[in-house]
């Protein structure tokens, strides 16, 4: 008789345990119980989120591919595969290895699909850097990403980092990987064909990471320090060899299916590959290469040792596969075969330790969670801007915003990442989106990761829509057309109705915005239970978006290129301050509603910028986001280190308070610079799309000067702006 505390310690509730009894019609063995506990965890089974994930559109302009472990789009004869995944709790416990194995895991999801990983991005959230532990986390996470990513030879080309108190006690580490394959060469994560062999390849198995997904990822986070052993240890060198060996093995045509042993290791890979292939599988775990002695069968099944995969190989071709992996000094061992009874049968030296229908493991229970709007929200949404004092000194306000860690340059971070290996990075980190050329074609990909979680906290539906709109805007500013999304959905405890309300509303926001822009969500990941004793994180549905640039020569960047060019603002500024970095940094408030968003206006602005770039009319294009127009203009002046220049802004449309125009975060705005001849042509394009257009100034000089009539609001030497913006993060970290 299994005691309730046993199955509860594995994360199963009474009903779920009863269901297991009904399925098996007997008591589960310890191994079986462990297998159910991980497969039915939120992390593997999406038990609480699945009903809402159905809302997300799956089709768009480009043909989409939805695979078992990742998704992508078809661009001509190439498949672009990508996915974003979280590794939050492991990183909070052990930042370096937590982040490193996050990178390793998502890279494996990409190359097991048959695609060579060509780039990574990340989306990171931490609490305030005034706290020592948060600084330790940031340093550790960056160290983990550089340690793994640099060695494995996949460039880390972009991402975002934000700081907010809600992440103290629960940082977020979301990593996205992009890979490219010939569209005819994709691999599946399934086992089919009676008698075909099941091979174990890669590193050996140890006790590391046992219970990582069920214990660490599927519960609230309290006694974190005790859970350090549940964090896995990464070996990027082995992963690099595994990439090469796997791609070589796939090229033989003898591989029927392949799956990464990520969360829940052998359990997950055996049951999910069998289930996806409508097959059964019989493996003997005594044959699994080990790095520790005396491991119990359930420990072998649960281990999350890294850099391992399960491969279904055509019968008779095992030697060929073994030869390739041993060339790279990696294990490749036949541990079982495909059967036709639909049962996953796990043996240990011939003795059966688990025998479960594959489908019953993968068809986890689905829950309809209750939701309720949080009580505090109405109060928070009320903001009377007349009670907010206007800045006395706009220069100081701008400098303070530019040195806020969420806004300032992230050079200290991205210079530690190899962002150029593979020689595809055409736009380096530090612009709106990173651009990767596609070798052998005239095309390029643009990639970005975005989410303003403060907006999502104040208004989950609109905040999520803005995340989608902003990601698309970033891609457009680099000359791309937005093509597809991967989402990484970070929320608090789904069993609490106010948290689940945030999740539900964010799902609806993403779904509606993606449908409007005709962008499918092709892959993603859900991370619940992001809570510390102080409460839940701000809802953070990170949007990873890929765009396509049809002509690599038409790539655009955010910084001004030449002196005496015209500066244009597309879109218009409203008198709003809700959720802005200005309110938070200058006035210490997280208040108001998220900025307004009119999707049709957003589209008009994006189409105008896209057309202007495509016709070669724009010298630069930069999206307006955190910190508002003043910060955007400053970034246009300084973000190309080799060529900084000033600007004179003397024709802004100040409809209301000046701080709203300069620091408010109205959506759907893009700053473009162009030569004098092109300005009229861009105006015509804007008229055609019905996008607001206004010439606001000219580039050049040694200062950024912004005036309203005769009243000079901002006048700062570019050097001073550059210094603040460039050095703030490092001085905060090393404080």
């Amino acid at each position: 008789m299994v005691k309730p505390e046993v199955y509860k310690s594995l994360g199963l509730n009474d009903n779920e345990y009863q269901k297991i009894l009904d399925i098996l019609k007997r008591e589960p063995t310890p191994t079986e119980l462990a297998m159910f506990s991980v497969e039915w965890s939120e992390h593997c089974g999406y038990t609480r989120s699945r009903n809402w994930l159905k809302l997300l559109p799956k089709k768009g302009k480009y043909k989409s591919l939805i695979g078992e472990d990742s998704g992508g789009i078809i661009v001509d004869d190439l498949a672009v595969i990508f996915k974003m995944e979280s590794h939050n709790h492991p990183s909070q416990v052990e930042p370096k290895q937590g982040a490193a194995t996050g990178v390793g895991g998502i890279i494996r999801d990409i190359f097991t699909a048959g695609a060579r990983p060509i780039a990574s991005l990340n989306s990171l959230r931490f609490g305030s850097l005034t706290q020592t532990y948060n600084r330790y986390l940031l340093r550790g996470v960056v160290d983990g990403i550089q340690f793994y990513g640099n060695c494995v030879g996949v460039p880390t080309v972009g991402g975002e980092i934000y700081f907010d108190e809600s992440y103290t006690g629960n940082c977020l580490v979301n990593v996205m990987c992009i890979g490219v394959a010939k569209k005819t060469k994709l691999a599946r994560a399934r086992a089919t064909g009676y008698g075909n062999s099941i091979m174990y390849v890669g590193s050996s198995t140890g006790r590391d990471g046992i219970g990582g997904c069920s214990v660490l990822a599927s519960h609230e986070f309290k006694e974190s320090e005790e859970k350090r052993p549940a964090v896995q240890i990464g070996d990027p060198f082995t992963e690099k060899c595994l990439i090469e060996a796997t791609l070589e093995a796939l090229a033989t045509g003898y591989v029927i299916g392949i799956k990464d042993m990520g969360a829940a290791g052998i359990t997950c890979s055996t049951s999910e590959m069998a289930s996806a292939g409508n097959s059964g599988m019989e493996v003997d775990i005594a044959r699994v290469p080990r790095r520790e002695s005396n491991m119990q069968p359930w420990e072998v099944m649960m281990s999350e040792s890294q850099e391992r995969m399960l491969v279904c190989v055509k019968k008779g071709k095992e030697k060929e596969i073994e030869r390739i992996f041993s060339k790279w000094d990696l294990n490749a061992v036949v541990i079982g075969k495909v059967t036709d009874d639909g049962v996953v049968r796990i043996k240990d030296k011939g003795k059966i330790v688990a025998e479960i229908k594959a489908h019953s493991l993968t068809q986890s229970p689905v829950y309809d969670m209750p939701y309720k709007k949080p009580n505090y929200l109405d109060r928070l949404n009320k903001l009377d801007i007349n009670k907010i004092p206007e800045p006395k000194n706009y220069n100081e306000t701008l400098l303070k915003l530019l040195s806020s860690p969420s806004i300032c340059s992230k050079k200290w971070v991205y210079e530690q990442y190899d962002h150029m290996v593979q020689t595809n990075t055409a736009v380096l980190p530090g612009s709106d989106a990173s651009v990767l050329r596609l070798k052998g074609t005239n095309k390029a990909l643009a990639a970005t990761a975005d989410c303003n979680s403060r907006y999502c906290f104040l208004n989950p539906y609109r905040g999520a829509q803005i995340a989608v709109a902003e990601a698309a805007r970033n891609l457009v500013c680099s000359g791309a057309q937005a093509a597809a999304v991967t989402d990484c959905l970070n929320f608090g405890n789904p069993e609490k109705p106010d948290r689940f309300w945030q999740f539900k509303n964010c799902m609806e926001g993403i779904a509606d915005a993606c449908k409007f822009f005709d962008i499918p969500v092709v892959s993603g990941n859900v991370s619940f239970y992001n809570e510390s004793p102080k409460g839940a994180i701000h809802p953070t549905p990170a949007i990873g978006m890929i765009g396509v640039i049809n002509d690599i020569k038409k790539v655009c960047t955010q910084y001004f290129k030449k002196e005496n060019e015209i500066i244009i603002l597309l879109g218009s500024s409203k008198e709003e301050l809700g959720g802005s970095e200005y309110l938070k940094v200058i006035h210490g408030l997280i208040k108001g509603d998220a900025p307004q968003l009119d999707l049709r206006l957003e589209r008009a602005v994006q189409q105008t910028a896209q057309e202007a770039i495509k016709k070669g009319l724009a010298s630069s294009a930069h999206d307006c986001s955190e910190g508002g127009l003043a910060v955007t203009l400053a970034e246009c002046c300084i973000s190309n280190n080799d060529n900084v220049m000033g600007a004179l802004i003397d024709n802004l449309d100040f409809i209301g308070r000046k701080d709203t125009a300069l620091f408010g975060e109205s959506q759907s705005r893009i700053v473009i610079s162009c030569n004098k001849k092109s300005a009229g042509k861009i105006r015509a394009i804007a008229q055609n799309f019905a996008a607001p257009f206004r010439i606001i100034g000219t580039t050049g000089g040694k200062n950024l000067k912004i005036s309203s009539g005769k009243n000079v609001l901002i006048n700062l030497p570019i050097k001073r702006i550059l210094d603040k913006w460039t050095n703030s993060l490092q001085s905060l970290i090393t404080a």
Binding site: Q146, N150, K240, E415, M420, T423, A426, L428, D642
Partner: protein
């Protein structure tokens, strides 16, 4: 003329070097597996960047024991051209084909960024297409690029004009400010006495096409090609 790109387990710039030679320089090139005990018929061996053997123990320390390295040594002794880039440079140091050693970067971090280097001599097979003192915009990406050699070693390098590249500013100033990693005397690349083995930390293959932000690195590939076949 034939190029060979050596592949150690953990090399990760091998494909980039291969691509640059084949698609940009448009010369024949092949991969050479580190377990090979015979060196193919090549004129120039490229030891690419990356993390050979994970850089475990010490950068390049394990790779130098690869079976192929004996052949590289022999090839170099016979005057064959060898260029080690980044990890390749570190391996050449460990193998004793070049003098000196690498320490961790002064700031103790991995550094990936564009820097400028000054071409101290163009009288080498690897720089004959550059003008003397030409400033190249070229990226670095390493954890251990802080070159070190003892006083007499440095004197020898200088006397024999073996220092090929030094880190400098955009306008050519060689000083502490323009030194990204703390390398002694701003050294970014050196050549052996015989003038046929070059090691450099910056990545010419990452700066050989306009789309990547600089074509300056391509001068090094063009120099090698011109040296091997003056008719081109």
């Amino acid at each position: 003329m034939k190029f060979g790109v050596v592949v150690f387990p953990g090399s990760n710039c091998d494909r980039d070097c291969f691509y640059t030679v084949k698609n940009v320089l448009k010369q024949p090139v092949k991969y050479i597996w580190h377990k090979q005990t015979k060196l193919d018929d090549i004129d120039c061996a490229i030891l690419p960047g990356g993390f050979s053997y994970g850089d475990y123990l010490r950068t390049g320390a394990i790779a130098r024991f690869s079976p192929l390295m004996k052949q590289i040594y022999r090839f170099a002794q016979k005057g064959g051209l060898v260029i080690g880039i980044c990890n390749g440079f570190q391996i050449l140091l460990e193998a004793g084909l070049l003098p000196g050693a690498m320490l961790r970067n002064k700031n103790l971090h991995f550094i990936c960024k564009y820097v400028y280097i000054k071409t101290e001599t163009n009288k080498t097979p690897f720089t004959n297409f550059c003008s003397r003192n030409q400033i190249l915009k070229i990226p670095i990406a390493h954890n251990e690029g802080n070159y070190y050699i003892d006083k007499s070693g440095l004197k020898t390098l200088e006397e024999n004009r073996q220092i090929v590249f030094r880190y400098c500013s955009q306008d050519g100033a060689v000083n502490n400010q323009s030194n990204p990693n703390g390398a002694l005397a701003n050294i970014a690349g050196i050549i052996n006495k015989n003038g046929n083995v070059l090691g450099m930390m910056p990545h010419p293959e990452r700066s050989s096409e306009k789309i990547l932000g600089s074509e300056d690195g391509f001068l090094i590939f063009k120099s090698i090609a011109a040296w091997l076949n003056p008719k081109i």
